[in-house]
Amino acid sequence: MNISPEKVAELEEYAYQIRRLSVEMITFAKWGHIGGSFSMADILAVLYFHALKLDPANPRKKDRDRFILSKAHGSPALYATLALKGFFPLERIYTYCELGGLEGHTDMTRTPGLESSGGPLGMGLSVAVGMALGLRHKENARSRVICMLGDGELNEGNVWEAAMSAGHYHLDNLIAIVDYNKVMAKGFVWDLMSVEPLAQKWQAFGWDVIEVDGHDIQAIAGAFHRARFIQPRGKPVVLIAHTVKGRGVEMAEFNYKWHTHAPEPEVADQMLRELARNYQRPEAGYSKLGIENTKETFYGGE
């Protein structure tokens, strides 16, 4: 089921904005994960502005879809998405990592639109399994639980405990997405700890697998449609989304050095201008250039 070219263009714009805002908040906060935010930006755009049933005016609506970010260090991209969706004012992204502001990793107790709290890798899929079981127990057949995992995160044993249980319970209301950006914090996945053969692993745990280009808006929408409406026949479904870590800005692409790294304001400015050119948008740089974050430093550093 294809979506219209106009819709694709709209989702591209959201993906662009998610990337822009991620750079804005990470630069201003002087902390954050650009690579893993960029790699899932297109997927988040499709989910939040096309595929998921969500109502920012009623964030706890019973038949909403539930999205869990297990790779919670990708919080900038999710915060950007939630702000664009209207869960909280856009200006709030500049409170990222500030006391009382948006938490460095995810804190659901003070961020509208978040469905869970996280940070340590490997834990989100278990929470998603619990939610999917809970929805089944409540006989809520409309909602889906979607869990976004990192690829390096799949090194964690807890992921496979959760995967085994989802297969065991035949949780066909659960959709996992692997942001397979091929790069971990300190290098390539295949160098540090390979997760291959990945599709066969999920299949062996009782899941249906859909592989998709995680930067192709049309393909992501189609894959998600299949995962939601066509494929779930007594099995959970995993989308293995092939992505590029840092996708959007050349210096960050497939570069582990941009896993956790905040750019200097001047570098952020260049990044955002390059991003605009890549998206064929009017060139625009870092909006806070020359505006110092008033964050208190201790002994002159962080």
Binding site: S117, M123, S126, M131, H137, A162
Partner: protein
Amino acid sequence: MAENKPSMNTVEMRDAFGQALVDLGNMYPEMLVLDADLHTSSKAGVFKKSFPTRFIQVGIAEQNLFGIAAGLALEGFIPFPSTFASFATRRALDQITISICFPKLNVKIPGSYVGVATSRAGASHNCIEDIAVMRTLPNMRVADPGDNADLHAVMEAAMQVEGPVYFRITRLTLPKLFENDHTFQWGKGVLLRPGRDISLFGTGMMTSLCLEAADLLAQEGIQAEVVHLASIKPIDCDLIAESVSRTGCALAAENATIIGGFGSAVAEALGDTVPVPLYRIGVRDHFADSGGVGDLLRHHQMMPDDIARAARITINRKSK
């Protein structure tokens, strides 16, 4: 030996746990019990018989057990993820901390097989650090009930607060401390026996041993006050301060390591209020190896005569 042997509970504490689960299950339809392949040992399986559709088996996967519990709590259920205390508080500490305590989810965690007085399984299974670890977690409440009625009351009180609770269960048949209509309040202790020479603060099963120690001390004219503090977090600072204001010294007894555990909590309360000499009874920087319960309690110097001896030493430390 004590002159007046207390009457005993009729069943092991773990059986009382199974029954309490069923009692609460009847009152709270949103309550679920989760298990990691230990339900016949922990007696959580009793709930399964009464409510088969509200019992979830997750297999031998404790990290997943607590993650699933978090997810169920997010959907409005009140899950009891049940396993041995050692597997909950060691293996799944990260999940309990970040998936459950950080978002303050309504998960009630029963820790079975606690302390030295549990089984012959040894150091790997006999959990002594759970009090110390669980009470450091923000949002977490911690309780160690002293008998079956107390356990029932703790579980009822757990349902009446929103947020995570950790409570301890031994597999022993313990002396009776309370009648069945006993109630438990978070942050409230119970004065069981007034005295003027030393305050014996007990938690969990150690309160009964403190009472026996008080009998021993009474034979030599020492009047020991015995206070039961099932609520370890929050702890009853007021009662602790009030008691030592009368007695001038204290002893804290726990079926756990004394490092960071209940005795440390009492020490903190004393430091904040009325600092007096304190002796801590419990496991002293050692693993809780295999052994019979009596042998282990003797080995770790946690028996009533050990408590009485420690009380005498502590009374002598009072400033004249």
